[in-house]
Symmetry: C2
Subunit: 333 residues, 2 copies
Amino acid sequence: MNVAVDAMGGDNAPEMVVQGAVKAASELGIDVTLVGDRDVVTKQLGSRFPGDHITVYHSEQVVRMDESPLKAVRKKKDCSIRVAFDLVKRGKVDAVVSAGNSGATLAAGILTLGRMEGVERPAIASIFPGEKGHVVLIDVGANVDCRPAHLFQFGVMAQAFASSCLGMENPKIGILSIGEEGSKGNEQVRLARELFDESRLNFVGNVEGRDIFTGGVEIIVCDGFVGNVALKLSEGMAQATTKLLKTELSGSVSGRAALLLGRRSFESYKRKLDYEEYGGAPLLGINGVGIICHGGSSDRAIKNAIRLAEQYARSQVLDRMAAQLNTFRDFLV
Amino acid sequence: MNVAVDAMGGDNAPEMVVQGAVKAASELGIDVTLVGDRDVVTKQLGSRFPGDHITVYHSEQVVRMDESPLKAVRKKKDCSIRVAFDLVKRGKVDAVVSAGNSGATLAAGILTLGRMEGVERPAIASIFPGEKGHVVLIDVGANVDCRPAHLFQFGVMAQAFASSCLGMENPKIGILSIGEEGSKGNEQVRLARELFDESRLNFVGNVEGRDIFTGGVEIIVCDGFVGNVALKLSEGMAQATTKLLKTELSGSVSGRAALLLGRRSFESYKRKLDYEEYGGAPLLGINGVGIICHGGSSDRAIKNAIRLAEQYARSQVLDRMAAQLNTFRDFLV
């Protein structure tokens, strides 16, 4: 297995990205191909070059964060994210990880590898920490307006991914709405619910915002607008409340003593709220493996995203997903 | 000032609601009219009847949580929530507080008091705790599908409410989207943004999910579907993470010592994450004052909602809101 990493993508690229790749190579033994300007990347690697596990693949261009994703990817044939997906297409690597312009990663993935049969809209699935374990929220930003059939396909893809790659057995699927009763929600949700009800999937019905963190479902489908708001809100809250707690405790002698005494508990608490555990969000519905990371990813997040990409590529999720999508081919006509 | 409270509405009604009303009357000296079955309510009041500040007003019917709100309110002319708004209309009380079926409260408010001039869709505004102070999110559930003009009106109403009633001076307004750039978001957001840009309101542009908790804006407008998901998610996370932290610390001797030593800091932390501080969400855009509480409200939440209702009624927000809406009358044509 070899994971191509877009070395030029991200707010802290290439430094953080290269550091993350080095960690994945040296700590996890994963083969990584850094795609980007050879001179820049090699300089970043410096003396830390760990040898066999890391290759540098040269590309001339970069898609900036403020560029229109589709236009940039179409125009810049030699941009790092497109070259990375080209390597997948040519069988040189098995997956792509990028912390660059997420719209460009989406566009390059679809343009280069194509959509899977039975998928109208590829989607981004985020793996959330939750009170009762992990929860997959799909879509978190690829599609701002979705039809009911798209939401249904998100559920099918996420189920295959979660069972093959996250070890969830027959994961429960819910649809994000604003009330538990079937009559509640907007038109899109009501119609998608009917599709799920008629399928043989393990569907539990409507779930609410609180269930993203505290609910008893493993997969939650929603459109990319709502999903992106939910993802950013929960990440922001997890960070801000942890910081707030630390500030409160640091303000007094007894508080500082509490911080010291409760150190292990606080660490365990932080681990359970860790949004970097998987480092990135899989892009589901393209003919290949792509992981989208935050622009501001730390080296640890990049390392974990590379691990997820390697697991995803190794676990044959794509075959399982294709088979599942095929089952529902006539269902959605 | 006299606040009518729907004594029959809520998961824990009438017990919790009556207890909250008693607290508002005895601790805050606010006159409260409990609307509901006289026998049931009087029995709940029991020996705690605090005398002059509490009145009971009889109504025969109740709207259940599982009923279709509009149908139920139309059919049940003598239901507690409708009778409560009737008391406002007849000038007997100044505001309504209800923890019952929120759709029914919305429907009864609009049906009985009517919409304000210049408001197409009344909306529910939730007052969130945030890292930098309170944030008003509007709409959190009244309207699942909104047109750009509706979002603009939400902003106008919330601005009048926040400046008159929450002491925010010229509060900044943002529109919830999935990227800070103006080109991002769905069609509805892009068009609403244009309206705000052209107005003389203190508008800062797009904000993201994380800004609900950590941002530098005081008012965030969004449609009721997204807003409801965000409200439920953040409430759920605040509760669940606080519980998780306590569980982690309680699991060891040193952790329990930390809990004890850091008691004051933990209390201060909890106060800053307190979603019950205002107890309920104002229903903006009707010709009167209505506060919608959670179905599962505690007596403390009910008490705080009664205080908010009294402040809202006393602060002449409605006049200010009407004047502001009038300013933009020709703007939206």
